[in-house]
Subunit: 578 residues, 2 copies
């Protein structure tokens, strides 16, 4: 991972690949690397779909190594959704494969001269770029099938669906899982549109002939990796709850807490929650011959994913995640898991962020375009996106644009990005993260649900403003570090509760790179990443006024607790005042 | 004009009107008054369609008086299009009528409790508000016809069409002309959507029984008004060019100058310009029994408007203005006046800003949705807006949203508002105004075309950056004053070239109000208005980064002069450093 693959898609005669040393970016990976390149090389005033923007795909610092949970890959660019810097990360296989191929990042830059669609094949022998217009408007599943026929089964794919080709602002970049299905997504912020604007449909990776990345201190690394795994398995969330029920274990918990955004963030509790809970989902999967406990990438020991079959026992989609189940479920008043699973499949296939899709449909329901609870209507709407009809393009542009075009006032977005599955009024810590994260509303960038609801990393009353800023600040800093390692964010549960597991993670990095980092160093690293990101956003015209929740969160109390968001603007402005 | 009519549309039992003294806002009118009320009373973080926003309709300080050209009326609110403060002003009769009824402003505030549509009738006896759901989705022409039947012919109307009811971000507020037709519009920034969000379809004014507003010094006022009129008639632009050919006299001039944005701002000269010029337009109007020289409001002595009949000699629309002829003409590659006139009629009837509509269609053409030059396609698109189809809602949301939804990079907007009919690369002074005006891209807020192209108020080379900032600054300050008087901006031609006419205007104000203002005082007044507006925008999260043209203006040279926009960011930041 000491080299960067730069592909100038606008070169004379077609895209041109150049491999360059990592140089000034040495020591960076994942989010730190995507944000460093975007912040340094992309003019903040660029059009997100223009020549000056760059799409950066970077495995984490520990990806491709033997360390457990290190399979996250970061995608960064100036976002067509938020207008600011964006890092969205994903599970799946490509992170490990790309890292083993030795690339710290792939950077797509420039602007294609024509309308051709490109596929890029990367293996130990180098990079081949070819025109493949037969792939035009293919769904991600069909793209991967075609690549399997062409390149065999030992590949991993990074692709976009029709949504990315259409440059829709809520389009994702898909990554294949262990079954070579395009089920893992860098969903947020329209990274698929940026890839589409570069004319690249799919990147096929084959690490045949390459081996695991080797640590500087192999013995030490092996030893702390065992502690690392033991720590993850010892914690209740990562060792039991997530493996058993997946992320969707949260449905009952958040609903019970009254923070489950229902009917487009109108209420905090959904009557149909039990029917779409993780417990029911796991039971359904097992009964139908699917899988309830499964990793999304090799090296995963938490295994919060799964496989969801239809009523006839045929594969329908991967286990829909909590955020997806909520976005298409409670947020739209839909309480049918099969409908939600179908929406999950369609989103994955078209290449769409499930959170912004669920939020956009919720806003469309609020506008009266269809009724809350209308599952078939929701499926039809997502199909419109796949077809690229005007209505589909509205929805595919995300909740903010949908709200603007349909004249809706209650639109749950920050910086143009839809809020995930926790209402900030009943989970005020996550509200601080939504408001202030440089990424727009994003639960993963500072998951305060931990101490607010789950009793992980201490306890902070979710309904009161006290302590939320400090909580979100600490989490945003820690997350920027974890996102740079390629580590799954779910390791944070164990990291927060078990000092020895936290130390094991630092030891892993030190053993791998021969560094001597302390906990303070990792915090400094996280702060540097956040500072780069906020600096880009400032140059793009963001101020503290963009670090705010929509006004209805302050004015409209949320049932059942009848609370509004209580953290003041002045407190929000202290998040990055460390 | 010492009272303000406040209508709380969210009051229990339906909208409630209260007339209050002008109080702290005394001495303000037109734009100064709308911006003062919005800046002071509307929280900058409000949703533009929400309870906290207010729609302010204010005649100018001299409206309703005997002074010529004082019939402009200002409409202000937080804009659904730009997210910033907005003042859009219009000609037509309502300014004079509302002023004679004694109201300095109408303020619509609050949020209606239901979906009822209201009409408001105001005469010397007071205010009557009633539900009239029969008007739902009526075009402006039908609304006015119905009001005539109900209230007689001695009325003036302020109304919205279906676009405003649908809360589309490019919807206008319509004002009736001397023939009681809804042909004059406060077009920019989605003021129609704000009126729609307040549930008000039409405001009917009847000043029967009221008389002309009386100046403090009647003799002096009469005397300087004569000088004022003589000055306007003596100037070549206001005395000859505008009366003869209307605003569309500019087509040949700007096209010849190479600054006529063609094919969505791709080129600076349009081959079909001669066919849609003001000369041809005036000839066509006269030949068909229309009118080529006509005022838009009583008291107008420039008479740049007209009446455009169809081929059979029947009324089709008022004389389409230069901006409209360009937006639907050269910008879309359309060179047929009848097509453009039909588009003008449809925009007026649905209640849409012709500039943002032409720009949105140009962007849709760039996206390949229809071909440049497809006049029938453009008509069909605007009809989609009237019907409220998804495609129509996209277009009706303006060029910025259209570009986002269709994935287009070349989108000619600043602060979300479409650029008018002068390419900033070939008319660099207007580029400074587009970039820095608190209103978003707006030619009327600092019409540097004067010295850049028309040789009015001196000469500044349009293709070079030198002198443009000082020019735009002076014009923006002067315009903020003129917009507050209710004076038509076209008086500026004479004001800039003839010191005695400029003095006559100041004398008019002084004679009317008993003031002793100097030229310096008027400049201070203009600066105060701009400062209030910029202060609101700053609180809404705008920085200098929003005071920028889109990047393609700096990167893509414009034929035939092959120039890019040369004014630096640092220079732009000096515009308000007075």
């Amino acid at each position: 991972m000491d080299k960067i693959l730069r592909i100038d898609v606008g070169a004379e005669g077609g895209p041109k690949a150049t491999t360059v040393p990592i140089g000034e970016y040495a020591g960076l990976g994942g989010r730190a690397l995507t944000s460093a390149i975007v912040s340094k090389e992309v003019p903040a005033a660029s059009h997100p779909l223009g020549e000056e923007n760059k799409l950066v795909i970077a495995p984490g610092l520990l990806s491709g190594s033997m360390s457990a949970m290190s399979g996250r890959i970061s995608v960064g660019a100036k976002s067509p959704l938020t207008g600011g810097i964006k890092e969205a990360n994903s599970g799946g296989q490509p992170s490990q494969v790309l890292a083993r191929l030795g690339y710290a990042a792939i950077v797509l830059e420039g602007k294609p001269k024509g309308d051709d669609l490109y596929k890029i094949f990367i293996n130990k022998d180098g990079v081949k770029i070819s025109v493949d217009n037969t792939l035009k408007m293919f769904g991600n599943y069909d793209v991967v099938e075609k690549m399997k026929k062409e390149f065999g089964e030992k590949i991993a794919c990074i692709s976009i669906g029709p949504a990315g080709e259409m440059k829709l602002a809520a389009s994702s970049v898909a990554f294949t899982d262990m079954e070579l299905r395009p089920t893992r997504h860098a969903g947020r912020g329209g990274m698929g549109a940026v890839m589409g604007s570069k004319g690249v449909k799919v990147i096929v990776l084959d690490d045949t002939g390459m081996s695991m990345r080797q640590p500087k201190d192999a013995d030490k690394f092996k030893e702390v990796n065992k502690k690392w795994i033991a720590g993850l398995q010892a914690h209740g969330v990562t060792g039991q709850a997530l493996p058993a029920y997946g992320t969707n274990v949260l449905t009952n918990i958040i609903n019970e807490a009254g923070g489950y955004p229902t009917y487009n963030f109108k209420e905090g509790r959904f009557a149909g929650a039990a029917k779409i809970s993780g417990e029911v989902e796991a039971e359904t999967e097992t009964k139908r011959g699917g899988v309830a406990t499964h990793g999304c990438h090799s090296g995963c020991v938490i295994r919060c994913s799964g496989i969801y079959n239809d009523k006839d026992g045929h594969y329908l989609t991967k286990q829909p995640e909590y955020e997806t189940v909520w976005a298409h479920g409670g947020n739209c008043g839909i309480d049918d898991l099969d409908t939600i699973a179908m929406l999950d499949f369609l989103d994955d296939n078209y290449g769409l962020d499930t959170i912004d899709m669920g939020a956009a449909i919720g806003v469309a329901m609020e506008a009266g375009l269809l009724k809350f609870g209308d599952g078939q209507g929701a499926i039809n709407l997502i199909k419109e996106v796949g077809k690229g009809t005007p209505l589909g393009r509205i929805i595919g542009s995300g909740a903010a644009v949908t709200g603007k075009v349909l004249g809706v006032e209650r639109v749950p977005v920050v910086k143009g990005q839809a809020m995930p599955a926790y209402d900030p009024r009943a989970v005020q810590g996550i509200g601080v993260t939504y408001a202030t994260s440089p990424m727009g509303a994003d639960h993963t960038s500072g998951y305060a649900v931990t101490s607010n609801i789950l009793g992980v990393g201490g306890t902070v009353d979710p309904l009161r403003p006290e302590g939320q800023v400090a909580l979100s600040r600490a989490l945003q800093i820690a997350t920027a570090f974890i996102d740079s390692l390629g580590m799954c964010i779910f390791t944070a549960f164990a990291l927060m509760d078990q000092p020895e597991t936290n130390q094991a993670l630092i030891d892993l990095v030190n053993a791998f790179y021969g560094w001597n980092w302390t906990a303070d160093d990792t915090a400094e690293f996280g702060k540097k990443v956040l500072t780069m990101e906020r600096d880009f956003n400032a140059r793009a015209g963001f101020t503290k006024e963009q670090d705010r929740l929509p006004l209805f969160m302050k004015n409209q109390p949320l049932a059942p607790h009848n609370v509004t968001f209580q953290v003041t603007d002045e407190e929000l402005d202290q998040v990055f005042n460390w």
